[in-house]
């Protein structure tokens, strides 16, 4: 039994890739298949406080999404970041069975970036309304928004930032006025 456990631990350790330290923070990267196992082990080790979960859209890279978990060991005063990459269309396992607080964070990741979460007890949109078709924090979602199929609701129309005090030259598209705004892509989301 202990051999099996030791094997599992060795297996897990070999799967973890330790990323270079930056500003005194350590980050680990783990394949998403091993994520749940690692998270359980880390909680056993004392990482009892899940600070935050962030979904990052690295648009244009191959595993498109990245899930970032910030963990904290409050007795040892240690912070650890665990990251896992998720290709488009694939799901990442839910950690809400490990920390109940992960529930809302994962709903937000699904709502805002559109990372699918498998094994989540209640995966609904959280900030946007039910039935909203887009994922606004994706990089190919334009800043001014996209219209949806509910034409009578104000927020379903595009909202170009025109007429504000910092808009110097009115132009039809926000990426022409705002140099950093990404143009809307034709591809539907």
């Amino acid at each position: 039994m202990s051999e099996v456990a030791a094997d599992a631990t060795a297996d897990l350790v070999s799967a973890v890739k330790i990323l270079p330290e930056f500003r005194g923070e350590s980050s680990w990267e783990v394949p998403k298949e091993k994520l749940l196992e690692l998270m359980r082990a880390l909680k056993e080790e004392g990482m009892t406080y899940l600070v935050d979960i962030t979904a990052v859209d690295n648009h244009g890279e191959d595993p498109r999404f990245e899930m970032v978990y910030e963990l904290c060991d409050l007795t040892a005063r240690r912070h650890l970041r665990v990251k896992t990459r998720v290709p488009e269309g694939e799901a990442v396992p839910s950690v809400s069975s490990v920390w109940r607080g992960a529930d809302w964070h994962e709903r937000e990741a699904w709502d805002m970036v559109g990372v699918k979460i498998s094994g989540h007890p209640d995966l609904r949109r959280i900030l946007m309304w039910d039935g909203y078709p887009h994922h606004p924090l994706r990089k190919d979602f334009p800043l001014e928004g996209l219209p949806t199929e509910m034409p009578d609701i104000a927020f379903t129309a595009k909202a170009p930032l025109e007429g504000g005090p910092f808009v110097t030259s009115p132009a039809p598209f926000s990426h022409e006025r705002e140099p950093r705004a990404r143009p809307a892509e034709e591809k539907s989301l």
Binding site: F22, R23, E25, S27, T48, Y49, L50, V51, D52, T54, V56, D57, V68, E70, L74, R77, H79, R81, W99, R100, G101, D103, W104, E108, M112, R125, I126, L127, M128, W129, P136, L137, F141, L143, E178, R180, A181
Partner: protein, 406 residues
């Protein structure tokens, strides 16, 4: 079958007979006790809540998306609108995060100034939370008393930043300006008289029969559950867990101040209230220490290419003018990398996860909003309580929807 009184008999038979319809009650999104635009959908069996669903997002403005489209300094005004009861503390937390990414070490004067900002904001936010909480459970007068004190803080903030509400006081590498003359004296004067006022507030509520009856043993959260849900701030400490970012991961030199972290025992609404009351006392203690040790000297980091130069030099010197132009148009040139910075805000740990690919714009900026995490427990906490407990629980959780929805 025993033949007791009618009420007992009905209550005992109810589950077998399946009598009594469940009622679905909608509270909010615009209701006085929800303090903003929180919507609760409650399933009731009589007066008792059997299921709760918390619906948020009515104040969602897409701050994180907006942040990806602007430079680091341009995002400061958006942080005012997160926890709009403590804008100064949000400004400080955000710029501290960017400074961590830049690798800056703030000069001592800037650090002490920011500590004063944070603690003034904490008192101001707790005062509003306290007044609104007391009003929700029936003590109207408290609100007027706390607002009198908040007014004094607002006057100080106006003196410091020029704005009462939307302060936007900090910039990457320091503040927009140095302390104005008379500010420190004002803070000292406020702090000294405030302790007496706090005692008065305590006298009004601590043993107030109605207040105690409505808050004791209501909304009990154990320390394990609180941590499991990621509760922070007074909500976690009310449950008896002593986690405070200022002590565990000190920033801005908080380790050099002498203050204590109050914790509760029972984890009920009353304990959360008591923790906030004591925290204000500790904040006063920190304020007085900060005023006493305010060092002279620089209040901006020395990094001409990335930090806004002083205005008088911009208007008279060529080089500073160029730097100003570059910093304003392109933003501070941040190194590629990612950091997380958490600060102890009035509502809990306000954290920023910054993912930079280099340059003046974040690749991804995630706000870890304490109110968002604190509200996550409601679906589990509310069932079993009566409808009349809902305002007490909501008031004691003390959330701000601007921060929750971002």
């Amino acid at each position: 079958m025993e033949f007791g009184d009618t009420l007992t008999r009905t209550a005992e038979m109810a589950p077998q007979l399946d009598v009594g319809e469940k009622l679905v009650l909608n509270i909010g999104p615009s209701h006085p006790s929800t303090h903003g635009v929180l919507r609760l959908v409650l399933e009731l069996d009589g007066e008792v809540i059997t299921k709760a669903d918390c619906d948020i997002g009515y104040l969602h403005r897409g701050d994180e998306k907006i942040a990806e489209n602007m430079t680091w300094n341009q995002f400061v005004p958006y942080t005012d609108r997160l926890d709009y009861l403590a804008p100064l503390a949000n400004n400080v937390a955000y710029t501290c995060a960017v400074e961590k990414l830049m690798g800056y070490e703030l000069p001592p004067r800037a650090r002490v100034t920011r500590v004063i900002c944070c603690e003034l904001a904490r008192i101001s936010a707790h005062l509003l939370g306290l007044g609104a909480f007391a009003m929700d459970v029936g003590a109207m007068t408290m609100f007027l008393y706390t607002f009198t004190e908040r007014e004094k803080i607002y006057n100080l903030i106006e003196l410091l930043t020029g704005a009462r509400f939307t302060t936007s006081f900090t910039r990457v590498g320091g503040q927009t300006r140095d302390l104005p003359p008379g500010f420190l004296e004002g803070v000292k004067e406020f702090s000294e008289q405030f302790v007496g006022r706090l005692d008065e507030f305590g006298k009004m509520l601590n043993r107030n029969r109605i207040f105690v009856d409505r808050t004791k043993d209501v909304g009990v959260i154990s320390a394990e559950t609180a941590l499991d849900f990621g509760l922070t701030g007074p909500n976690l400490r009310g449950s008896g867990h002593g986690y405070d970012v200022r002590k565990s991961f000190p920033y801005l030199g908080y380790e050099t101040y002498d203050f204590e972290v109050p914790v509760g025992q029972a984890g009920d609404c009353y304990d959360r209230f008591a923790v906030r009351m004591e925290e204000m006392r500790q904040s006063v203690k920190i304020l007085l220490q900060a005023v006493a040790k305010m060092p002279e000297g620089a209040w901006m980091v020395e990094d001409p290419k990335n930090v806004l130069p002083p205005k008088d030099k911009v208007l008279t010197k060529m080089e500073e003018l160029i730097h100003q132009f570059l910093v304003v148009t392109q933003g501070p040139d941040a190194p590629p990398g990612e950091i997380y910075f958490g600060a102890e805000n009035p509502k809990g740990e306000l954290g920023f996860y910054l993912n930079s690919r280099g340059g003046g714009v974040p690749h991804r900026l995630k706000i870890r909003a304490p109110s968002f995490c604190n509200l996550g427990i409601l679906n589990t906490l509310l069932p079993g309580h009566t409808v009349s407990d809902v305002p007490a629980i909501l008031g004691s959780i003390d959330f701000v929807m601007g921060e929750c929805d971002r």
